[in-house]
Symmetry: C2
């Protein structure tokens, strides 16, 4: 047995601040990043994992495959514009897509709570099949566990996915360069507000539907147009803000965005104002950030807008303070857009 150094040491996570798991450890912000780095990466350490991607890019002699996994614990199970099943398919399809891979196969593993109405399960499973058909993937294997009443929330679903990279574009944080242009594929924050609204029984003036959707056709169109995408990431937990901070850190460069260029629908903007939330912290499930080299930005925007009119160029990568994200405000100032701590919106995916 090849015992590694990691296994002899004490937990590298500073236990004073992290003695017990908190909701924020799953919130997509700083606390989660630290848990991932100091526990999971510390113990499992290997070159693929250190890639820091949404999935694992596996190099085989015959080509590159991508493997990815996500568990879904969204509450409630059904929300405007989607349900846990559609989310479980699209979320994993999008993780594959963000690695530049064409999604091919999914697994589906269910943790069911004793007492769940079977009809509810059937609705979710049918929704998964519809989402899989729409995304062009097959669900090829699965697993079922049942836990006692009170030990789950109806159901949790894990989907893992396998995709193939059919092009030569290398997509990843390490390719981001100063001068690159930052784009977002559509208006942000709808998924998080839709789930939160449903859960808390909020009546928004204009109903907000989740943006849950598969992204491969959009990314495929960009690649087919010859756009040399340097990096992509979908804005899920922690929202646009977390993605910008993760990629600024991952590339050791500064990201500078303009607040006026960030697309936010009137309904999301209004709901965020009432609730005192920053829309850039709110999760999407069908929006992504694309970083493209200078010169490719107009074509990239053209392709993105052909899929979603609200797509926008929001900023640039600078050779400034490594890992910093700055945002220019409408009144001409500039402030730091810090990583969200992550406890604001639990259980949205």
């Amino acid at each position: 047995m090849n015992e590694t150094k990691a296994l002899e040491i004490a937990c590298p996570l500073p236990l004073n601040d992290h003695r017990h798991i908190k909701l924020a450890h799953g919130g997509g912000g700083r606390m989660m990043q630290q848990l991932i780095e100091d526990v999971f990466v510390a113990a499992f350490d290997n070159p693929v994992l250190r890639g820091g991607h949404d999935g694992a890019v596996l190099e085989f002699p015959h080509g590159r495959s991508v493997l990815t996994t996500d568990s879904y614990v969204v509450r409630p199970l059904f929300f405007p514009g989607g349900d846990i099943g559609a989310l479980a398919v699209n979320g994993t399809v999008n993780d594959l897509t963000m690695c530049g891979a064409e999604p091919l196969f999914l697994t589906a593993s269910f943790i069911l709570e004793e007492g769940l109405e079977t009809e509810k399960l059937w609705r979710v499973v049918k929704s998964m099949r519809s989402a899989a058909d729409a995304a062009g993937v097959s669900i090829v294997t699965g697993d079922t566990k049942v836990v006692e009443r009170g030990h789950g929330d109806g159901m949790y679903i894990n989907t893992s996915g396998v995709g193939r990279i059919n092009h030569d574009t290398r997509v990843g944080p390490k390719r981001i360069a100063a001068g690159d242009v930052i784009l977002v594929s559509g208006d942000i924050g709808r998924h998080g507000m839709a789930v939160m609204g449903e859960r808390e029984g909020l009546a928004f003036t204009t109903p907000i539907e989740s943006d849950c959707m598969p992204l491969w056709s959009t990314v495929h169109a960009m690649l087919s147009a010859g756009i040399d995408i340097h990096c992509m990431r979908d804005a899920t937990r922690g929202g646009l803000c977390a993605v910008l901070n993760e990629l600024a850190r991952g590339s050791s460069l500064q990201f500078d965005v303009d607040e006026r260029d960030i697309p936010i629908s009137e309904s999301v903007r209004g709901a965020c104002e009432v609730l005192g939330l920053d829309a850039t912290h709110v999760a999407c499930e069908g929006r992504f950030v694309a970083i493209v080299p200078r010169g490719d930005e107009e074509r990239a925007l053209y392709v993105l807008k052909s899929q979603n009119e609200s797509a926008s160029m929001i900023g640039r990568v600078l050779d400034g303070e490594p890992g910093l994200v700055t945002i220019r405000t409408p009144i001409g100032g500039r402030r730091i857009l810090d990583m969200p701590a992550g406890e604001l919106l639990p259980r949205i995916c």
Copy 2:
């Protein structure tokens, strides 16, 4: 969107008996089989899924890969001979192995309960690394979710796995033929009894440790010895009894075993007698059934015994009643070994 017939119909599961999810739907027996067939296979229907294997065998131009998934909800998290982490690695490694694939890559997805001691998580994660090293696999990507206090049991783990088939032996229920010999790779029932003993605070006369271990090296040795394995399946939920029934059904043949040849340790036998359990229903996590053609059985047994002295030839496949499992009793009778219903031992994996 390619809407299929499955999506227009009502849930095929007879709702009178299955209106709500019961613990038995996850127990590995008849109820679970029906849920899988009438809900998951009905909705997700595709040729790979219909293979009825422990994992999905994916045919690529360059060779065959296997994809598999399992969620682990064992309670308690730590038990004699293992913990949820070792189980999550070995269980998925073994599902790949049972499809004849060399295990290569795993994903690890955690659903953590708010309030879990971080040190406990660290112990589990270290155990996963040790198990991964022992099985020769890398954990290459993952996911973390946190649910509120009271909505989980400390942690649930999903692992999905990818393996490669590096040989020409086709392994699967369809290859089983009349005349084949049925072997089991070691004494059965230790995992289930170890977990149950720990959970219920039972003091067994002789301590029982889980049999949790990876099986690839054993299977690799059999394949290298040129044994034409027709089918393999690890005896997890539902125990040896469920495996025999599943494979008898999958091959539409009769399985006939001799009770005296089923290896059961004295401690497991004693504990089962006290608790009124049938040892053939109790889960293992490091034992498998192998079905080999007549003529290969002696070499197969030789290889199995070189890894575990208690391995045994337990019966034969007959051209009799399709799907039936019969067992010859020590006093010379013969009875039907029916599929367990599955509610006896919940949460053992």
